[in-house]
């Protein structure tokens, strides 16, 4: 009974939040003078690119293309592919009454038909395409609309970058899966296992916990240059195992970055990992609402630079100190070349992953939420330099 009421409340929460997304986006459309929003979704899923179609529909498609046609007034329409996946779409899409299934090749012509049928072709239109819209589709909007559309990318991103309750629920579920997966790895991985077996066992353990997808890099070395996809390298004593573990629940990804030594960590390894941990904690303390992300980068880099490693806090050794991984918004990115400003309710991974010449690359990163007091970890236990075996 308790289980069924929990499921019921999850469904209600999801519906309420999807309705709110639709309504808030409509408010922004009205303010921007838009009469129609086309929220596109690419089937080339990435956790580093927006999927506005997914954000507004709650549906992660298998086909190449999807679009939510959201008029200022009237019923939204979902155009999705392939046809045979329409029953799944209808189950998932609870705030859009009209679901139209078609084939990838007929996507634009089907959008055209729907726009004509609902007298939407001549409306003042914005397109939020995400980062993976194919050139042919980007060019195609002009052929199905009477007027060239404007970009509505930022409009959707600005709504999505502050997480709603449903997003946070899925995020916290994914964090729990990531932590339990990593703890399982610490218990089971052993010298003699190849990297791909370690990664594969972790992957399927998290699948059993409910992870639908995972951006996972996992590799080991006595002196890592970076983390990469798993190879046939066999774990041995003294190796440093790196894991970038990013399970997804209902399309919401969350990442933990972890480092474990096969055997006992050396004093040098512990000393250098402590620099990364100090950088992370300094960054979290700095990350109050209103803070430019550049200031967070500086806070993270300071203890590492003070220890004599400033060169390694810049490219090509360092790319970014953190980033959102919500398919709804790629804000913020904690990088020196970004002008993002932190806002309360943003969620992202903060990761001072760092190459140190004495020990090699190590990973240290937490999923955090921005509060009035700074960035708070979503994990139950922050990462440390762990030991296996």
């Amino acid at each position: 009974m308790a289980v069924s009421s929990t499921i019921e409340s999850q469904t209600a929460l999801r519906t309420r939040c999807l309705e709110r997304r639709r309504d808030v986006v409509r408010e922004r459309m009205r303010a921007a003078g838009l009469e129609l929003l086309i929220a596109y979704g690419s089937g080339n899923h990435s956790f580093l690119a927006m999927n506005p179609g997914w954000y507004l529909s709650g549906f992660k498609q298998m086909g190449k293309h999807m679009a939510v046609l959201l008029p200022l007034e009237g019923e939204p329409i979902l155009v999705m592919t392939p046809r045979w996946d329409v029953s799944r779409a209808r189950e998932k899409v609870v705030t859009i009454g009209s679901v139209v299934a078609t084939d990838d090749e007929q996507f634009l012509s089907t959008v055209d038909e729907q726009l004509r049928a609902h007298n939407l072709r001549s409306k003042k239109t914005g397109v939020a395409g995400g980062g993976l819209m194919a050139r042919s589709v980007a060019d195609g909007w002009r052929t199905v609309l009477d007027w060239p559309p404007s970009s509505a990318e930022k409009m959707v991103s600005d709504v999505a970058k502050i997480r709603d309750e449903w997003s946070l629920y899925c995020t916290r579920t994914a964090v729990d899966i990531a932590e339990r997966g990593y703890w399982q790895l610490l218990e089971t991985a052993k010298p003699g296992w190849p990297e791909h077996q370690v990664a594969g066992e972790l992957e399927t353990f998290m699948r059993e916990m409910g992870a639908e997808d995972n951006f996972q890099l996992m590799s080991a070395s006595q002196h890592n240059r970076l983390v990469h996809q798993p190879t046939n390298r066999v774990l041995e004593m003294g190796d440093i195992l790196l894991g970038e573990i990013t399970p997804a629940v209902e399309g919401e990804f969350i990442q933990i970055c972890r480092t474990a030594v096969i055997g006992k960590p050396t004093a040098l390894q512990l000393e250098k990992f402590a620099l990364l941990d100090a950088g992370l904690r300094a960054g979290m303390k700095t990350a109050v609402p209103g803070t430019p992300v550049k200031a967070v980068v500086e806070a993270i880099n300071k203890p590492i630079a003070d220890a004599g490693y400033e060169k390694y806090t810049r490219p090509p050794y360092m790319r970014t100190r953190g980033h959102s991984m919500s398919l709804g918004s790629m804000e913020p990115e904690i990088a020196p070349d970004r002008d993002h400003v932190l806002e309360k309710g943003m969620v992202f991974v903060m990761h001072p992953n760092q190459y140190i010449p004495d020990t090699g690359y190590m990973m240290c990163g937490e999923p955090v939420i921005i509060t009035d007091h700074g960035a708070e970890p979503l994990t139950s236990k922050m990462g440390q330099l762990d030991s296996i075996g």
Partner: protein, 368 residues
């Protein structure tokens, strides 16, 4: 088969030089250069990304993103889209020694590379520009404005269509991984596992057996094939499962079911398509041969909805598509994945075969 694209190909990623040694790629380069000479091209640029890498990987070996520059003389060069941090690892995945980072706007780098190879002007073929964003495409074409550029996709696709022996061997390795994964799923299901637990059993087996990417659909909570979206207590009989496995960038896929397919409509349809898969045969005729074996409109509709198959190799769904609407003609030595999911009410069957197009009909590939 259309399926859920993951955010990252994250399984076993190491160059199997025993199966795909460097000399395999020098032979492919020779083949492409001959086509370039015939077409009057001085240089060729081939793009790939993490979703569509077939053309790029055919020459570069590594199934990743990048731009490959091939001229009529000298070694090819690969330019990656990242910042260079990944280069040490990427160098372990390819036979190409000239590997460097060009960032997301590679136009100026490509122009310089052509000049360095003493090609200040001339004819440049482009393969895979549909993968580029509007901004990147503009950057490339503006920088190459001094060259006569033209799309070379169709010619390149035909070069890849007939498979080399080592390509067939690599695909058969992927088929072995897929077959073992299917057996693990069916064994788990027959021992009482739910549909989603059987999917996890298949995935675990494929990942431990060195699959680079694994795609699985099954009849989860539905008569339709669906991706894994969390554990479900449902156990739908018979289990219907589709598994796709990538090894070294080469794909194999298979239909698996807990029910016997012997003599089923789906099996008859696949066998008819296998027999029709001869060089020069029209893809539409192959499709028609399969559909003729299905006894009802409903069964034919479901088979066409899920697709009757396509070319397979460095892409899961490659040219040609097996469809009544296709005007493609099969190529001798090409590889096809042929399948039928036939549903008419409660009567459902699912079968497939991977075949190499040959004079006497398709030759079925066995797992290696």
């Amino acid at each position: 088969m259309i399926n859920m694209e993951p955010v990252l190909k994250r399984g076993y990623t190491a160059w199997d030089q025993a199966l795909l040694p460097a000399d395999e790629f020098t032979e492919r380069v020779s083949r492409v250069r001959a086509a370039m000479r015939s077409a009057g091209l001085d240089a060729l640029l081939v793009w790939g990304n993490q979703y569509e890498y077939a053309d790029f990987t055919y020459l570069a070996g590594m199934p990743t993103a990048g731009t490959l520059l091939l001229t009529l003389e000298g070694d090819p060069a690969v330019f990656t889209g990242g910042g260079g941090r990944e280069l040490p690892f990427q160098r372990t995945l390819t036979w190409v020694s000239q590997l460097s980072a060009a960032g997301p706007m590679p136009g100026a780098t490509l122009k310089s590379a052509l000049a360095e190879r003493s090609i200040p002007q001339g004819n440049v073929g482009l393969v895979g520009t549909h993968l580029l964003s509007a901004a990147t495409y503009a950057n490339v074409t503006e920088n190459l404005s001094g060259y006569a550029i033209r799309e070379f996709d169709t010619e390149f696709r035909m070069l890849r269509a007939s498979k080399r022996p080592r390509e067939v061997a690599t695909l058969r390795t992927a088929l072995r991984i897929a077959t073992d994964a299917a057996q693990a799923a069916i064994q788990a299901f027959n021992q009482g596992a739910t549909t989603t637990e059987a999917m996890v059993a298949a995935e675990r087996t494929a990942r431990v057996n060195r699959g680079r990417d694994i795609r699985i659909l099954a009849n989860v909570d539905s008569d339709d094939l669906r991706p894994f979206e969390g554990l479900s207590p449902a156990r739908r009989t018979p289990l219907l499962m589709w598994i796709g496995v990538d090894y070294q960038g080469y794909w194999a896929d298979m239909a698996a079911t807990s029910a016997s397919t012997s003599g089923s409509q789906a099996e008859r349809a696949v066998e008819a398509m296998v027999a029709a898969a001869t060089p020069g045969a029209r893809a539409a005729a192959v499709a028609a041969a399969g559909l003729a074996q299905l006894s009802s409109t409903a069964a034919r509709d479901s088979a066409q909805d899920y697709g009757l198959g396509s070319g397979i190799g460095l892409a899961l769904s490659d040219w040609p598509t097996i469809s009544p609407a296709s005007d493609a003609q099969l190529v001798d030595g090409g590889l096809l994945s042929l399948r039928a999911l036939a549903r008419d009410g409660d009567d459902v069957s699912f079968a497939n075969a991977i075949v190499q197009v040959a004079a006497g009909g398709g030759q079925k590939l066995e797992p290696r």
